[in-house]
Structure formats: C-alpha cells, structure tokens
Symmetry: C2
Subunit: 419 residues, 2 copies
C-alpha cells in the first residue's frame, strides 16, 4: 500500500515527470476511449459532462472528442465542493436539502433528449467536508440527484463514469510522494486500470467484459436464493429476488446503444431482496459519500434493515444518509468482483468509489437498478433517493451461493470464481 517512492523517478512516457500531468496525447487518447467506447456518443446527441474544479483539461478533451464524434451540443456542469462546504457551514438548516427544480428537470430532459452522459469522478478535494457537522452535511446530498436513478432505470441515456486524476486526490492517495510524483503515479495507475496502457484498450475491455458476461450468465443460471459473505468481521446473508439477473457493466439503452456505465468496471452485480439481508458486515475499504470519507464501517442488518451503522470516521454522516427515506437503510445492489481485475492487485485505496468498488465485492444502500430484475419484481426492489456503495469483499472473504433448498455453492474463494 502506497510508499512506492523508489519507482517515482522512472515514470513511463505518457506522464510528465515535472508536473505529474499526463501529456496532451495521452489525455486525448483517454478522451477518445471515453467518448467512442465508454459513453459511445452517437452523431446528433447532446452530451452532458459532470466535472469538478481541477479536471479542466480532460473535460475539454472529452468535449472536443464529443463534438468530433458529431455531438449536437456539449453541456458541461461543474460541481464545486468548496461551495457546498460554505452552504453546510452557513445556510439555514431547514434549507440544506433544497435542490433547485431545474437540477432534476435538466436530468430528466437529458433522458427525454436521449443524451449521452459522462461523469468525471475522483475526489477532487478529499476530506474537504470531513470536519463538518454530519447531521447538517447529511441533509445536502448534491451532486447526487434522485432523478439520476430514474434516468438510469429508464435506460434512455448512454452514460459512463470515469476517474480523472487531480493533484489533491493524488496527494491523498500517495501522501509519501512529492506532489508531482504523486500526480504522475495516480495518472499512471488510472491509465493502467482503464487499460489505456494496452495497444488496443477497446479490445482489452471487450475481452474482459466477455469474461464477466459469462460469469454473470452462469451466476444467473444458478438462480441462487441468496449469497453468504463470510470473513473477518463479516457474516452476512443477502437474499436475492426470484428474477434477480446478474449482469456486467456493458449496458444497452432502449435505442440499442451499447455503453460502459463505469470505466473501469470489473464487477458483476444484481438487485438483492431488500427485505432479506441479515447479519453483520465490516467494510474492507474506505468509501467517499458526498465528499466525506467513511473509514472502518461496521453495519448490522436485520430483516433487510441496517439496524446499526458505525464507523471509525464518518459513521454519523452515513447513518444520517441511511435515515433519508424508507429505502435508504436497505440494500439496492450486490456486486461480486474477482481477483483478476487490475485494481485489486495495486493494493491501493483510491478513495474513489468507482475505482475502489471494482477492487472488491460490494453492496449498496439505497436505490436498485430495475433492469436487473423482471417486471414481476419491480415492486419488490429497493427505492431510495440515495445509492451508496461500500466494499465488503477481499481475498479472505468467502462468497457462497445459497439455493432455495438449502444447498451451499462456493462462488468466490480467495478471489477466484468457483462456478
């Protein structure tokens, strides 16, 4: 974990050792992969980009590639956590959950216009909100919008979330490196986990996704009634719905546009039964929720509900989130990650859920994805304004499939598929 200073002077070509920034050509290749493959922007589409301060260069490169791909309009929205911090510090408490109506209306309009959506993730200012009152901070869930789940479930937009390195993020991940070296290291690793260090990144992703699609198909074929996670601090049973279908992150819109909603993605996932989750679980990695880092999370579930949520840091904020609505304390996703991906072997905590959740099996509190169940189970899946993933997998956490007639089928042992 971290502390790999010895290699910092031998950075590969595409990263500038002086500033740690990736060079223009690398950024352009990354933007090309994002636009042409991950989001798969089509001629005539509106392209919405969600970004943050410090991500200007990649934002511009994505916008340029999108226009080159025939975009009708590129609509960039930058969210600044510093402004959110001022709000949580100073605004009247009863206004903190206010969201101007045009935020959600724009999101719904993106769906109606069959837009493409690109989000550049990565904590741009890690820890910026960590010292705030968690009750106040928990009331403001922006930039998360409840309308996003609606649009995702409607499958009207081809979308992707992709990490974008920034200096503060790099220093947070690699505190022992000099700032420039830290940024160079983060770029190097992000490019690696996005398979941009391959001659043909698209072919590499297609191959990996073919493998995961096969795993998903076999998992669905087992028609498990539930999964059992067992490891240090974890003994959790997660029920599945009769029609729960496992998929990998190769999505298709209602118009047939194939896209990768997450880049990187190493997971297969489905929708659990929000009424049947029991036991206790310990997170295997920190997570970032609304700008706050939550470390050492421990949760206990009874009858589907998280009846206790504690953490070494940030636990109160997560507990506050989990009180948001009736579904916020129940699970909306269960995902399995093997040891063959590119993230786990780096043994690094990136503090970006997009990356960290693809290093380890995970579950999410909050809203479920409709398209992983059949219509018969639409009423049974979890609904919520939140969706917060947390990592519960590790090589030492066994995952076992539970069949309806009581059989136990090994699924993951020491990070390797058993099915």
């Amino acid at each position: 974990m971290q502390g790999q200073e010895s290699q910092s002077a031998e950075l590969p070509g595409p990263v500038c050792a002086r500033t740690g920034e990736a060079d223009g050509e690398t950024v352009a290749r990354f933007a090309e992969l994002i636009v042409r493959f991950a989001a798969n922007v089509q001629p005539g589409q509106i392209v919405a980009i969600s970004t943050e301060p410090g991500k200007l260069e990649l934002t511009r490169a994505v916008a340029e590639r999108a226009y080159q791909a025939g975009a009708k309009f590129v609509d960039v929205l930058q969210f600044d956590l510093h402004v959110k911090r001022s709000r949580i510090l100073h605004a009247a408490e009863d206004t903190l959950d206010y969201v101007p109506p045009w935020y959600g209306e724009r999101m719904l309009a993106l769906g109606e216009h069959r837009a493409a959506r690109v989000a550049l993730t990565g904590p741009s200012m890690p820890g910026l909100l960590s010292d705030l009152d968690p009750v106040r901070a928990g009331r403001d869930q922006l930039p998360f919008l409840r309308e996003s789940a609606q649009v995702v479930n409607a499958r009207t937009t081809n979308w992707t979330a992709v990490p974008c390195p920034t200096q503060p993020w790099a220093q947070f991940v690699y505190p022992d490196l000099e700032p420039d070296a830290a940024l160079a290291r983060l770029w190097e690793n992000v490019l690696h986990i996005c398979r941009l260090d391959e001659d043909d990144p698209v072919a590499a992703w297609q191959a990996r996704q073919d493998t995961l699609a096969g795993v998903a198909e076999r998992l669905t074929g087992h028609r498990f009634d539930g999964l059992h996670f067992e490891g240090p601090g974890t003994d959790l049973r997660v029920g599945l719905l009769p029609s729960s279908r496992w998929i990998s992150a190769r999505f298709e819109t209602v118009d047939g546009i194939v896209h990768m909603p997450n880049l990187p993605s190493e997971e297969v996932f489905t929708t659990p039964d929000p009424r049947r989750v029991d036991g206790f679980v310990r997170s295997t990695k920190p997570l970032v929720a609304g700008g706050t880092i939550i470390r050492g999370l421990r949760a206990r579930f009874e009858g589907g509900r998280a009846v206790s949520i504690e953490a070494d840091a940030g636990g109160e904020l997560l507990a506050q989130y989990a009180r948001r609505d009736a579904g916020a304390c129940r699970l909306g996703e269960v995902a399995l990650v093997d040891g063959e991906g590119r993230i786990g072997p780096l043994e690094t905590v990136f503090y970006d859920t997009l990356i960290d959740e693809n290093a380890a099996s995970h579950v999410a509190l909050g809203s479920a994805y409709e398209f992983t169940v059949e219509e018969q189970d639409f009423d049974a899946i979890n609904r919520s304004q939140i969706h917060i993933d947390f990592m519960i997998g590790a090589p030492e956490v066994d995952v076992t499939g539970l069949t309806a007639n009581g059989e136990r089928v090994p699924v993951l042992r020491d990070g390797a598929w058993q099915i």
Copy 2:
C-alpha cells in the same frame, strides 16, 4: 496606454507581487461588496453565479458571502470558451445556434424564484475564438441567452455584473509586463475602478450614483428629441422616444430590492428610437462579442438600420450578429459617460465591455431596456436576441441634445457635462 512597467515593483499591499493574485482578505472584501451592495442578496434568496475557468477564488468567495448573507442556495454555472471553440470547429453548422431548452428555462425560473444573479466578467481567454470562421462563430451566441433580456425587463431579479481578473486577461491588457506583474496591475486597477481602494466603497458608490442620478434627471427633464455625436469619424444622430427616461445603474426590482446591475458603472442611459438613427460612427475602443475581439469598428446607419458594418478585425462576426433578427441591426441603448469616472483616466483598453463601456459614451445593437420608457412606447422600443454595446465616446467627441423644435443644447464637451 499600457507600458507602465516602471510602477510594477511598487504594488500596493492587497496584491501579492509574487503571483499577482489578490490576497484572501482583498478577495473577501470584494466579494462582500458584490454580495451586500452590488447584488444586494437578501436572506432566503437563490443566488446564481455565472463564472468562467480561472475565476474560482472569487466565485467561491462570492458563494461563501452569499450563504453568510442568508442565501437559500447558490447555483454556480461555469461557461468554458474552450468548449465553445470545439463546438464552432467541429459541430454541424445547422446545430450551431441550438441551445438546450433547460438553459433558458433556468433563467426564467431564476426570475420566478426572485433570485439574485451575479456574473463575473472579464475575458477569461482573450482572442481564443478570433481565428474561427465568423459565420460559424456568429451562429453560437452563448453564453448570451435571449431569456436574460426578458428577466432583466421583468425586474424580478437583483443582479450584477462585476469584473474578475485572470492571468490570460491580464497579459492581454498589459503585454509588456511580466505575467505576475500584469495580473497584479489588473487586480490593482479593477479594485480601483470598483472603488475598493476607498475606506468605505459603498459610500463612494452612493455618492457617485447620486451625482449620476442627478445628471439623468436633468437629461430627462430636457425631453430631447435626439442626440448628436460628432467627432473624428463620427457624425451620428440618435433619435429618442417621447417617453425615453435617463437613468443611472442603480436599479430596483419589482420587490423593491435596490441593486447595481454593473459594478463599475459610470453611465447614464436610455432607450433610443430604433427607427431614427442616421449617420456614421467609429468605435473609440475595441469590444468583445461572444469571445471575439472587434477592433476599429465603423458603422453607417440609415433610418435606424445599420446598413454597413466594417472593422479592422472581427467585423464579419459583428455583421453576422447584426443579421440575427430584425432588431439586431438597430439600436437598443444609448449611454453617456463623463470624464469624472475612474476608468477613462486609466487610458487603458480592458477588452471587457463592462469596464470599457464605462470609460466612454456608447450605444448598443439589439434589445432595449423596457424600464427606461413608459408603457406607451413599449411597442416602439427595439427587440432582439442580441445586445452588443460599442463605445463611440471620447473627450474629442461632442454630444449635443436636439430638441423637437430644432434647438441644439450642448450635453458633453471634452468629457464634461454641460447641463
């Protein structure tokens, strides 16, 4: 003009000589003046901030002050000319005037919500669009929205436009200075023209606005039928409407919130008769329209219409703008500026219309302000999707009032009021 290097080592306190950035305390004082005085944010208001890359520090300071002043929500929108450049270079020509419906809807919603609006001006990337095809560039008029004029005329928002120095802007204004010195000089001058170098900037602005309100009242009292501008390259008669009323930039919303729509503002202005503008005019300063700099503008008017528009640079773009709609080639504003303001004596072209227009008398092509005429003339005033100011005043340009019975009344001579 420019080339004042000798003073660059003797910068006053509030500007950091090493980086040229204003210090935190100065930025905070500026933000305070913007929020409490210029926009006059009220408790419970939504505050919309329009900004650009490179203006992050002041944007954040304004957001923080707004929340401290009781704002309900601060909605920051950043417009990036680099993305606009990509669009003009690559997008299909027939899409270039497309604006997503949620842009205008948000603007109208700000009016409905009785929001405050702050725009941070100043060319963030001067000349970035200058090499583009003017016909293509002229089709994309963002960030200008036609709904802005609607909201301004409805007087539902307390709003202000204020300059925010950036490094590229500073180097453009002071090309002979080192980058840090240029930025320091621009900050120094912006703080000076915003009267932030006064112990009590608000009192200084109130005094100046009281003077201009008096001038406006006397001008209105004359009930001129028109104005005559005469100087080198200029012989222009601008008709006024029967109810044309002169005002200074101290506005009041329908709810009685007094605000300064421009900071700085040294002008008095009214709405001309768009059918009665005749003669020729030469601009006395460059202007920036949609990111392009227009220099050495010469225009000829007949019966209110600009029948010829030429310029040493950027003329085609402006001509393209003037073909936008029926009102785009007619005047919507005439403004007078005396020599007592703080901008003219600096003898500097700032390439920010907000500043430059307050150094010199000016007219604007396009939409008029409804509230400078009585209802009887609402049908007569100019309507357009554009509003582009250009400077036609200078000490050597005489301004004479024309009465309905043929009298000539001196108004401005050598920059001094004669009324």
